[in-house]
């Protein structure tokens, strides 16, 4: 038994460069005022900004050079996503990247060559994994019939309203398959969600009666593993983003604690605020350690046990600390924290969304217990 196990942690030149660029880009292009401007728009993001990001090559970071990507793998996306989380920048990058990974990891070469290049160019994709709200559910409720017609629906499909393609998991005669659907096939089938995190958009999709083109069905042995991998990658990317948001939330708290006075003293001098803020710092730093540890272990192959452990720890830690940070941010801002105007609301809302996405902290700890203790 080796419970602590693998503790590799490396950071490549490419990651460093991407981090520098992404931090600067997000800081310049996505100040909080710009984030707020998007809260009540239909799409939740600025299309021009998204095209700029694609222009920087971010959509292709994790995709092979053969389809126009940079071939750096999902690990290289982590610093970019963390920077986006820090700026609370709403974009379809994570969903597009994960949908692309599903295709890359299980599609035929023909599918890969056809479907991925547009995504590198700024196309938007998303993935539909959840039949209900249970990330721990086995089995797939969405059915693909022998006639290639779907029966069932999916919930909480991120960026569904703007996606050019939706990759959905389904069951065909008991086997897991993926189906790729074009936006026009889904017209009128989306029921937009109202999310607690107003920087995000999602929708439930009713697929019943949709006919899937044969070329858009991905089947075979690799599908199940790809689904597993991509759920773990999703957990990691959401964790990375949440870590960035937690750091930004911490900054917001610290700034207030250094300037607000009560009873004649700066409130940051009170240990009742100071010490929990230190807990946020150390919890956020732990999340970051797990995130970059996991990024270190990701490769092009299927994720091994160490990588799985790392991704789950990253998500468990990041979910927990962002929940705590968001909650404390509201509390520590006092009356101001109770207003919509205060940025604390952005983080507490993001925290609630993050908690659920790709499984909450308890979900991952339960899986970790099986991995580590059995």
């Amino acid at each position: 038994m080796n419970l602590v196990g693998n503790t590799d942690l490396a950071f490549s030149e490419e990651q460093a460069m991407l981090m520098d660029v992404a931090r600067e880009f997000c800081r310049d292009k996505s100040p909080i005022a710009a984030v707020r401007d998007q809260l009540e728009t239909d799409t939740g993001f600025d299309a021009a900004l998204w095209q700029e990001m694609a222009g920087l090559g971010w959509s292709g970071i994790a995709l092979p050079e053969s389809v126009g990507g940079s071939g750096l793998g999902v690990g290289a996306l982590v610093p970019v996503v963390e920077a986006m989380g820090r700026a609370m920048l709403g974009t379809p990058l994570i969903n597009t990247a994960l949908a692309a990974q599903l295709i890359l990891r299980s599609g035929s070469s023909g599918q890969v060559e056809r479907l991925l290049p547009p995504l590198v160019e700024g196309g938007i994709a998303t993935l539909a994994l959840l039949d209900n709200g249970d990330w721990g559910a086995d089995g797939l409720a969405l059915r693909l019939g022998e006639d290639a017609v779907l029966t069932g629906s999916k919930r909480f499909v991120g960026d569904a309203g703007v996606a050019d393609i939706v990759v959905a998991s389904a069951s065909r005669g008991g086997d897991a398959v993926l189906v790729v659907l074009e936006a026009e096939q889904l017209a009128g089938r989306l029921r937009p969600n109202t999310l607690i995190d107003q920087t995000r958009r999602a929708a439930d999709i009713d697929f019943t009666g949709v006919q899937v083109e044969a070329a858009n069905i991905i089947a075979g042995d690799r599908v199940a593993a790809a689904l597993r991998d991509v759920r773990l990658c999703g957990a990691l990317l959401v964790a990375a983003e949440a870590t960035g948001s937690a750091a930004a939330c911490l900054d917001t708290i610290v700034e207030y604690l250094k300037t607000r006075k009560q009873f004649g003293k700066l409130i940051g001098s009170y240990q009742a605020l100071k010490h929990p803020t230190v807990d946020i710092l150390t919890g956020m730093e732990d999340a970051r350690s797990f995130v970059y540890h996991a990024a270190t272990l990701l490769g092009e192959d299927n994720l091994d046990r160490d990588a799985e452990v790392a991704c789950r720890m990253a998500k468990a830690q990041a979910s927990a600390i962002l929940s705590y940070a968001g909650d404390r941010a509201v509390q520590f801002h006092g009356g101001m924290g109770f207003t919509y105007e205060c940025d604390a609301q952005l983080y507490i809302r993001r925290a609630q969304w993050t908690q659920q996405a790709f499984g909450d902290a308890q979900h991952h700890r339960k899986r970790l217990a099986a991995l580590l203790l059995d």
């Binding site: 959840l130 209900n132 709200g133 249970d134 990330w135 721990g136 559910a137 086995d138 089995g139 919930r155 909480f156 029921r191 969600n193 109202t194 999310l195 607690i196 995190d197 999602a202 439930d204 009560q262 009873f263 009170y270 009742a272 605020l273 929940s323 909650d327 509201v330 509390q331 006092g334 009356g335 924290g337 109770f338 207003t339 919509y340 105007e341 205060c342 604390a344 609301q345 507490i348 609630q352 969304w353 908690q355 659920q356 996405a357 909450d360 308890q362 979900h363 339960k366």
Partner: protein, 400 residues
């Protein structure tokens, strides 16, 4: 002459029947759980009508004098009426500052004229009252209020700003804490207390959008606003002591409050029932051992609060740290509420990411909104951090 058990039982049965018959149908929009959540006219009118109906039926202000619209009976009747309202889960009697703060105060120390002028309107919900204690720069530090009230002939001239004025945009009157003497040696001695009209020139309110996205509070600005000098309650310099007295009435009819259901009580049981159909790992979430452990802890916290109220009256069981139970109650109840509601969201799985406005949100997004609203109690009326100081210093005698 005290009411007999039989009279009380009969009364209870009457109220119960009335509530069952008159409980309003679901209006199709989320109703406020507390008076701090009245965000729009639609909610306001609905609640105004309900309170008026309860009062007309004789179930509000029962212990207040008959001549001012009350029922003139013992407080025990009001307590029973309140219990039945709670049990029947009817809407709140929303004019809380009037019913629970201003009204009892006027009853206690008001002049004949004040009683005649104000009390009935409070009960009937015709006159909505708000409270002007907090100021932007002194959130938790009431004694430091800076809004000025300067006597000018038979008027006071008000200048300054209040914040967190619940229903400030709907209210006709405000109980106002303002500074009449900035030179007083103790800052507390410079304060005076006013029953101040809101509809005079120079008083403006600006709604505050809450973290929930909704409204419920205002900022209130006073710019050379002139109010009659007889709006002063008591004498100049008594403001702090009257304000502190005001805070005592919250404890219900026995303490002089008019009664009525002031907030929708939300329990762990509501949470558990609300989790019906939620699955975790393909099984009902209530079968998950970790969830069960969390729920048991929440139930214990809730039960402990109820028990601590029961225990408060037993001298032998409260002699070690007198004040421990009442003084920690706000801290504990508000923090429990916050924790429990956060938990309720987490237990929903994917649905926890939905919000009010999504038709498929569990109970219309009730818990998400409730979590956000719960901060009004952990922040308002002295933050939890300050409450903990108060318990430490006043109960345990720890140094400031």
């Amino acid at each position: 002459m005290s009411a007999t058990e039989a009279e009380l039982a009969e009364f209870r049965s009457d109220v119960s029947a009335w509530m069952a018959d008159n409980k309003p149908a679901d209006p199709g929009f989320l109703l406020p759980q507390t008076f701090m959540e009245v965000g729009d006219e639609r909610q306001l009118e609905f609640l105004r009508e309900w309170q008026h109906k309860v009062w007309s039926a004789g179930y509000l202000g029962m212990a207040w004098p008959k001549e001012y619209g009350g029922g003139g009976v013992e407080p025990v009747f009001q307590n029973i009426a309140d219990q039945e309202m709670r049990r029947h889960d009817v809407p709140i009697c929303f004019n809380v500052i009037g019913l629970g703060w201003a009204g009892p105060l006027i009853n206690d120390i008001g002049t004949e004229q004040e009683k005649s002028k104000y009390l009935k309107g409070i009960l009937s919900a015709e006159d909505i009252w708000c409270q002007g204690f907090s100021e932007p720069e002194h959130g938790s530090d009431l004694g430091n209020a800076q809004t000025r009230a300067v006597r000018d002939g038979d008027e006071y001239v008000l200048n300054g700003q209040k914040i967190w004025t619940t229903m400030g945009n709907f209210a006709k009157y405000m109980i106002l804490l303002a500074r009449t003497n900035p030179e007083a040696q103790r800052k507390y001695d410079g304060l005076s207390f006013f029953l101040s009209p809101m509809d005079v020139p120079g008083v403006e309110t600006r709604p505050i959008r809450k973290i929930t996205g909704e409204y419920g509070f205002t900022e209130t600005f006073f710019t050379d606003a002139r109010i009659p000098a007889d709006c002063l309650m008591g004498e100049e310099g008594q403001g702090w002591s009257i304000a502190m007295q005001t805070l005592q009435y919250e404890r219900g009819a026995e303490a002089g409050a008019a009664g009525g259901l002031a907030m929708v009580r939300v329990t762990v049981e509501d949470m558990v029932e609300g989790l019906e159909g939620v699955e975790r790992d393909g099984a009902p979430v209530l079968e998950d051992p970790l969830v069960r452990d969390q729920l048991v802890q929440a139930i214990m916290d809730e039960k402990a609060l109820v028990l601590s109220v029961r225990r408060t009256g037993i001298a032998h069981l409260t002699s070690d740290y007198p004040g421990a139970l009442p003084l920690s109650n706000k801290l504990r109840a508000s923090e429990l509420t916050r924790r429990m509601r956060q938990l309720a969201i987490n237990l929903q799985g994917g649905e926890g990411a939905l919000y009010v406005g999504d038709d498929t949100a569990r109970q219309g997004g009730f818990w998400q909104r409730a979590y956000f609203n719960s901060f009004s109690a952990t922040i308002g009326g002295g933050t939890s951090q300050i409450q903990a100081n108060i318990v430490a210093e006043h109960v345990l005698g720890l140094p400031k």
